[in-house]
Amino acid sequence: MPFDPSLLFQATFWIELLRLMIPATGETLYMVAASTVLAYLLGLPLGIILVVTSPGHIIPNPWIERTLGTIINILRSAPFIILLVALIPFTRSIIGTSVGTTAAIVPLVISAAPFVARVVESSLKEVPYGVIEAALSMGASPKQIIQKVLLPEAKASLILGVAITTISVIGYTAMAGTVGGGGLGDLAIQYGYNRFRTDIMIVTVIILVVIVQIIQSLGTALARKLTH
C-alpha cells in the first residue's frame, strides 16, 4: 500500500504513531543501555586480561590468553539470532522467563561482551609498551600499571570503543522481537513489514538514525576532549 501524504494532516495518524513509537523507543534504549553497561562489566576485565597476559606484556600467560581468546572467538562466531534462541534455557534460569524486554538483555550481553573484550583489547594495545616499561622501571605493580597507565592512556580510544559497541548493540536489539523483547526493530518488522505500513518503517529508521548519530557524535566529541 503506497503511503498517502494526506495522512500527515490527520491527528489520528500522529496519535497512533506516538502510541507505537514512544514505548518502542523506550524499550530499545533500555535494552541498549542495560546490555552495553553489563557487557562492559564483563568485557572490560576480559579485554584487560587478554592484553596483560599476551606474550611480552606485564604478566604473560599464554595458557590464559589462548583459552580466553578461543572462548571469545567461539562466542563471536555464533550468529546473534542463533545465540538468542540457544540461550533461552540459560535466560530462563537467570531471569525466570525467556520472554520480554529484560529477557532479551541476557543474549545481548552474552553476545556483546566478547565484542567488548576485543574492542578494549585493541584500545589497550595502542598504549606504547615503552610507557608501560617506564612505569615498570619506577617500580609499578601490575595493578598500578592497569589503573594508572593502561586505562588512563587509552581513555579516548576506549570511549570511541563504547560508541562502536553501543551502536552495534542497537543493531542486535532489532532481533530482540524474536523473544518478545519489543523495541524499534520489532516495531518495524511487525508494522512496517508484516502490515505493509511503510510510514511506520520510515519513522523507525529515522529514529534509529538519530540515535546512532547522537551516540557517535557524543563519543567522538568526548574522545577529542580527552586527547591531549
Partner: protein, 385 residues
C-alpha cells in the same frame, strides 16, 4: 655532606634518604669536581658480575650479552658506548631487570637484584631512575602529574608529592610548564620531564637509554649539562648508553666500549681517549677527533728525506704549554704543523697535534726524548729516512 659549587635554593633536602628506603651514605670525599679521578677511591655502587643474556629464537640462540663484568663507582657518570646491535641497550635494561639476565648478578647498592622477589624488586627499582630515547611520558597527564606519577606509585602522601614536584620542576627548569601536556612540549622539554620524573623518588642511580639520541645537537648539550649538574649537585650515579662519542666526551668520567656483546675496553675517559686499546674504541674516538691525514698528503710527505710524522696528544694543563716553541728551541729540528685540534674531555682540555718533524735521526731521537720528558704521548705515523 658537602655540596660544592652549590648555590640554588631548596636542594639541601633533596639528597636525604629516598622514600621508604634506608639511607645509604653518599661518598664524602668531596672530590666531585671535574678532575676527580674515578679510578681511585669511591666504591662500586653497581656491580655487574658475569652477566649473560641470551635470547632464543627460531634461528637458535642469540647472545646479547656475553659474560660482562663491570664496576660502576658511586658518583661517576659511566658511559657505555657501542654500535647499534652491540648489546648496550640490553645491558642497561638488565641493570633494573627490565630484561631478565640469563645468568650472572646485578648488584645495586649492595642488593643483588636477581635474587629479589617481585615485590622487593619493585622497591629496589625506586632507587634506580631511568630515562629513555623516546621519553615515554604519559600523554594523558600534565607535566606536573607525570612527575608525580612515580611518587604515586611509591604511595607518597599527596602533600609531600606537590612539594616534591615543585622542587623537581625547578631543578629541570620547567616551572612554567607544570600544567602543559607532553604533546605541547619540545623534545628537550620532554626529556627534562623524563629526568624530573626519574629523579622523583630520589634514586641513587639514573639509567639513560640513548637519552639524547632523538634530540638535536643544541638540545643534546643542554640535557647533558643538566645531567652533569645533577651528578655534581646530588652525587647521583649516572649510567649512559649511547652510540655517540661526543656524549661520552662531554660528560662521562668513565667509559666502557661494548662490541659484539662483550666489553672490549673499560676505564676512565681520559685514558681510553689517550690510549685506546681496541680498534672499535679508536673508531669511536676518530668520530670526534679525526686524526687521519689525507692519503695524497701522506704520499707527498713520504718523499721528504729525514722527516717523520708524529701525533702528539696532550691532556689537562699540558694543553696550554707552548710545547712547539720549546721543542724547536731545545732540539735542532724543524716542525711543520699538519693538523691540530683541541677540545674538552668533560672539563679537561684534550688536544691532538700532528706534526712533520724534519731533522737527522739523532735530532729526531732527541726530539722524542724531549717530548717524552714533557709527559706527552707521541705516536709516529710515518717515517721517511
Amino acid at each position: 655532606m658537602v655540596l660544592r659549587g652549590f648555590s640554588s635554593r631548596s636542594f639541601v633536602v633533596f639528597r636525604s634518604a629516598g622514600y621508604g628506603r634506608p639511607s645509604v651514605p653518599v661518598a664524602t670525599d668531596g672530590e666531585k669536581g671535574p678532575f676527580r679521578n674515578s679510578n681511585k677511591g669511591g666504591k662500586p655502587l653497581i656491580q655487574i658480575k658475569q652477566l649473560v643474556k641470551k635470547y632464543s629464537s627460531r634461528q637458535g640462540n642469540v647472545i646479547a650479552i656475553d659474560n660482562v663484568s663491570l664496576n660502576i663507582l658511586q658518583g661517576s657518570i659511566f658511559g657505555i658506548i657501542g654500535l647499534s646491535g652491540a648489546g648496550k641497550s640490553t645491558l642497561v635494561r638488565c641493570l633494573n631487570l627490565l630484561e631478565k639476565p640469563t645468568s650472572g648478578q646485578i648488584v645495586v647498592a649492595g642488593q643483588d637484584l636477581t635474587k629479589l622477589s617481585s615485590k622487593e624488586l619493585r622497591q629496589a627499582r625506586q632507587n634506580i631512575g631511568m630515562i629513555f630515547q623516546h621519553f615515554y611520558l604519559l600523554q594523558s597527564r600534565t607535566v606536573a602529574e607525570n612527575i608525580a606519577f612515580p611518587l604515586e606509585i611509591a604511595r607518597v602522601p599527596k602533600k609531600e608529592i606537590s612539594i616534591r614536584v615543585e622542587e623537581l620542576l625547578h631543578l629541570v627548569g620547567l616551572e612554567d610548564k607544570a600544567s602543559a601536556y607532553p604533546s605541547q612540549l619540545s623534545g628537550g622539554q620532554k626529556q627534562r620531564v623524563g629526568i624530573a620524573r626519574a629523579l622523583a623518588t630520589k634514586p641513587q642511580v639514573l639509567l639513560c637509554d640513548e637519552a639524547t639520541s632523538a634530540l638535536d645537537p643544541q638540545t643534546t648539550l643542554s640535557i647533558l649539562n643538566l645531567l652533569r649538574d645533577i651528578n655534581q649537585k646530588l652525587g647521583l650515579t649516572i649510567v649512559m648508553i649511547t652510540h655517540e662519542m661526543k656524549v661520552v666526551k662531554e660528560i662521562c668520567t668513565d667509559v666502557a666500549v661494548i662490541h659484539e656483546a662483550r666489553i672490549v675496553e673499560n676505564g676512565p675517559v681520559e685514558s681510553v681517549f689517550i690510549k685506546p686499546q681496541s680498534d672499535i674504541a679508536r673508531q669511536f674516538i676518530s668520530t670526534i677527533f679525526p686524526n687521519e691525514l689525507p692519503t695524497d698528503l701522506l704520499k707527498e710527505l713520504s718523499t721528504h728525506r729525514d722527516s717523520e710524522i708524529v701525533r702528539i696528544q696532550f691532556l689537562g694543563s699540558r694543553a696550554s704549554d707552548p710545547i712547539i716553541t720549546d721543542l724547536l728551541r731545545t732540539c735542532d729540528v724543524r716542525a711543520n704543523i699538519l693538523y691540530g685540534s683541541i677540545d674538552h674531555l668533560r672539563s679537561t682540555l684534550f688536544g691532538t697535534l700532528t706534526l712533520e718533524l724534519q731533522g737527522n735521526p739523532t735530532q729526531l731521537k732527541e726530539a722524542h726524548r724531549y717530548l717524552a720528558s714533557r709527559e706527552l704521548k707521541v705516536e709516529v705515523i710515518q717515517r721517511a729516512l
